[in-house]
């Protein structure tokens, strides 16, 4: 038996719009017929699936699907009340979906009960069903109960008895010293060490007062015993020093994630208490569900621990395959999981780089040397050439001056002369009309935009400003020097700005910060990642997805750097940031960035003797400094 729950992406959501217009309330036969025909035409056009005059086991729900808010749960709840269903096919951004029934009799019964009756359409609209000759055959089957489990994933059932289960729950529930917190969708307690969700790591220097409860002690010999019985002696079964307890109410879940490589060793052990739940394991487009039975021990090791993400969908019902050809639904009950881990206290040396924070974050000296050596050609290829190619599109996305930059420009006396180093499309040149503002940039394309707006600009490199010494009252350089590939070059750029300032002249410099959140607030850059913020996906999933997408699409740049995933946290300081064009080709360009650590910009300023720091601050994901040329 194959049982597929499939969600795949498909082209053009345009039909959704059409469907919204079609869907109304219970309709007269003639009207129904007309609507059915229109929907069937769309389905035929999309997937070449046609209506069947006689009943078949395949049903199309013609006017309700993912794009108008129908969920698999709702559909299954309605349909399985009337007949057995063996497969549900929901399609991303489609306003229809499909059921494969266990038999024609099941299909007929579901058809009779739901067609022109069931109000699962958008805004409670009645839905229309039709027998079809088949359901779309999709290559990418995302979810499959029959697939082998990821390597290194083991489920040991009946690992503890019911008595032991209640003893554990009691011990944990009673431990009021534990470090407790509420995540968006679940309750969490930490023992041994706290896992800090902001940094996604543990602080190994700060053990918690409350160690793992002694009630867990019977587990340690049992781990070793289980290892012997299941031929798992190859794994490290040393007693864990960290325990995370998650309490899930029905409807709660945990987004797909990998346990931070550098935080914890291999394997990770998780005990399920109180009820069963379906956990999903994901790698790229692969997805394997696994029913975590109550009182079972899940062992995630090797590939399963390092290269696969695991998560639980926030649902009230899990559907499971049964021995017969059908799906059953199991309402969720409260579940508690005990995850036992051991701290790594050092970098990770795994063989799975995609989700490895160590692999992503090490900027060894070797890389810095390479960058310094290749700086000129890297900046040429992955900064200047790219900006020239994307100049117009880039300019269209940069309209609004940042308020604090604007404030700075308004802090000058009228008739002050200010140079904008790396002026881009010149949005700051017209910020304060009382100033004589001059701009310069490397990109001829962007300078053309400025010139067409009657702004005074010239072309140069920020490492050699062709400007008289001590001639400027002010200088700004917004989001520029993070494109320079060595710390020496970044310093040179600052020295040039210092040189052209008159004594008492002030400069403002913005660079992109590696850290994109402050005081638990995400920067506007991260806030624009709607899919992650609404917990439809995770940053890790987006990284995996992008890695797969870019694999063949990009000419390898001559310096090997990780490609950052847009609108996610930076994993490292020297990265390529993709820019996807909006035209039909969707060409991806890679821009080189060095994102700054906290205090890094201040340290550079300290190396410029002619100036002193007036102020440094963090503004929406940027590190910013204002410095003044000393009166010597």
């Amino acid at each position: 038996m194959r049982l597929n729950l499939t969600a795949v992406s498909s082209p053009s959501p345009i039909h959704c719009q059409l469907e919204k217009m079609i869907a109304t309330h219970v309709s007269k036969p003639k009207k129904v017929d007309k609507k059915k025909r229109r929907c069937l035409a769309i389905i035929k056009a999309d997937y070449n699936v046609t209506e069947s005059e006689t009943p078949t086991i395949f049903l199309a729900i013609l006017n309700a699907g993912l794009c108008n808010g129908l969920t698999e749960e709702t559909l299954l709840a309605k349909a399985t009340a009337h007949g057995k269903v063996s497969q549900v096919l929901m399609l991303a951004s489609k306003s229809y979906c499909f059921l494969k029934c266990a038999s024609i009799a099941d299909a007929e019964s579901i058809f009779l009960a739901m067609h022109n009756v069931s109000t699962i359409g958008q805004h409670g609209a009645v839905c229309y069903l039709s027998y079809v000759t088949g359901i779309p055959q999709l290559e990418a089957v995302e979810n499959d109960w029959n697939k082998p489990l990821p390597k290194g994933l083991i489920l040991l059932t009946d690992f503890i008895t019911e008595e032991e289960e209640s003893a554990l729950l009691k011990a944990i529930g009673n431990d009021s010293r534990s470090n407790e917190g509420n995540m968006k969708n679940r309750r969490v307690k930490h023992f041994g060490y706290e896992f800090v969700y902001g940094s996604n790591n543990v602080d190994s220097t700060k053990p918690l007062e409350c160690r793992i409860p002694t009630a867990c002690d019977f587990l340690w010999p049992r781990f070793r015993q289980a290892a012997a019985e299941n031929d798992l002696q190859g794994l490290d079964w040393t007693q864990p020093d960290q325990l995370t307890v998650n309490e899930y109410e029905p409807g709660h879940g945990i987004p797909p994630h990998v346990d931070t490589h550098s935080a914890f060793l291999d394997p990770i052990l998780s005990l399920s208490l109180e009820s069963d739940v379906v956990m999903e394991f994901r790698r790229g487009s692969e997805c394997t569900p696994l029913l975590l039975l109550r009182r079972s021990l899940l062992v995630m090791s090797g590939e399963a621990r390092f290269d696969w993400m695991h998560g639980i969908r926030p649902r009230h019902l899990d559907w499971l395959p049964t021995a017969t050809v059908s799906l059953t639904m199991e309402p969720r009950r409260k579940r508690t999981s005990l995850t036992f881990r051991r701290l790594r206290r050092g970098p990770c040396h795994c063989q799975f780089p995609t989700l490895c924070d160590t692999h992503q974050s090490t900027a060894p000296k070797l890389l810095m040397d390479t960058l310094a050596k290749q700086a000129v050609s890297l900046e040429q290829q992955n900064v200047h050439d790219v900006y020239n190619k994307i100049a117009n599109h880039f300019s269209d996305t940069r309209h609004t001056p940042w308020p604090k930059v604007s404030d700075f420009l308004h802090s000058f006396d009228p008739q002050s002369i200010v140079l904008d180093v790396g002026c881009g499309n010149g949005k700051y040149l017209c910020c304060n009309s009382q100033l004589l503002a001059i701009g310069c940039d490397r990109s001829q394309g962007l300078l053309g935009v400025c010139n067409s707006r009657q702004q005074s600009v010239f072309r140069c490199d920020c490492l050699q400003l062709p400007i008289r010494t001590a001639s400027m009252d002010g200088c700004i350089s917004i989001a520029v020097i993070h494109h320079l590939a060595s710390s020496e070059r970044r310093l040179t750029a600052l020295r040039e700005m210092a040189r052209i300032l008159r004594p008492g002249g002030r400069a403002l410099v913005y660079v992109w910060a590696k850290e994109q959140r402050r005081d638990n607030n995400k920067s506007s850059y991260l806030r624009q990642n709607k899919a992650v913020n609404k917990e439809r996906t995770t940053e890790q999933a987006q990284r995996q997805h992008q890695a797969a997408q870019l694999e063949h699409k990009i000419n390898p740049p001559h310096v090997s750097l990780p490609v950052h995933t847009n609108r996610t946290e930076f994993q490292q300081q020297d990265v390529f940031v993709p820019w996807k064009t909006k035209d039909a080709e969707h060409t991806t360009f890679l821009r080189y960035y060095h994102v700054f650590e906290e205090q890094e910009l201040e340290r550079l300023i300290a190396d410029v003797p002619e100036v002193f720091l007036i102020k440094s601050y963090y503004d929406q994901g940027n590190h910013c400094v204002i410095f003044e040329r000393a009166v010597s």
Binding site: L436, G448, S456, V457, D461, P466, I467, R468, S471
Partner: protein, 124 residues
């Protein structure tokens, strides 16, 4: 390129160049765009400008009858001169031409109104 911008440009970044100022300006094509005259603006700007480059610009656009080689005293009281300076600095837009380093002769082209001051790696 406005001649106010010209006043700040130098070729001093070139290896071996000591002053690199003022640059030798050649105009092939220019445009005159009238802008509102603001005496205070010009007056407050003057101390920040270099008169030698003002004068060399005036020579190129043949305004030396109006603009003297040496900055006169009490210039703010000379409304007519202020207007000429305004015209010179803000109304003349060089669309095509070049800037030349006075010491090395290196030429920086001005194309479509934008001076290209970019240097090659081996020049710095």
């Amino acid at each position: 390129m406005k001649l106010s911008t010209y006043n700040f440009l130098t070729s001093m970044a070139i290896k071996g160049v000591k002053v690199g100022y003022p640059l030798k300006l050649t105009i092939n094509k220019k445009e005159v765009v009238e802008t509102e005259f603001n005496a205070t603006f010009v007056e407050r700007l003057l101390p920040k400008l270099d008169w030698s480059a003002i004068y060399s610009a005036a020579q190129v656009v043949e305004l030396t009858d109006d603009i003297p080689a040496v900055q006169p005293e009490n210039i703010a009281e000379n409304e007519q001169l202020m207007q000429k300076l305004h015209h010179l600095l803000f109304e003349i837009d060089v669309l095509d031409g070049q800037l030349e380093c006075p010491e090395t002769g290196r030429v920086f082209p001005i194309t479509d109104g934008i001076p290209n001051m970019l240097l090659n790696e081996d020049e710095v």
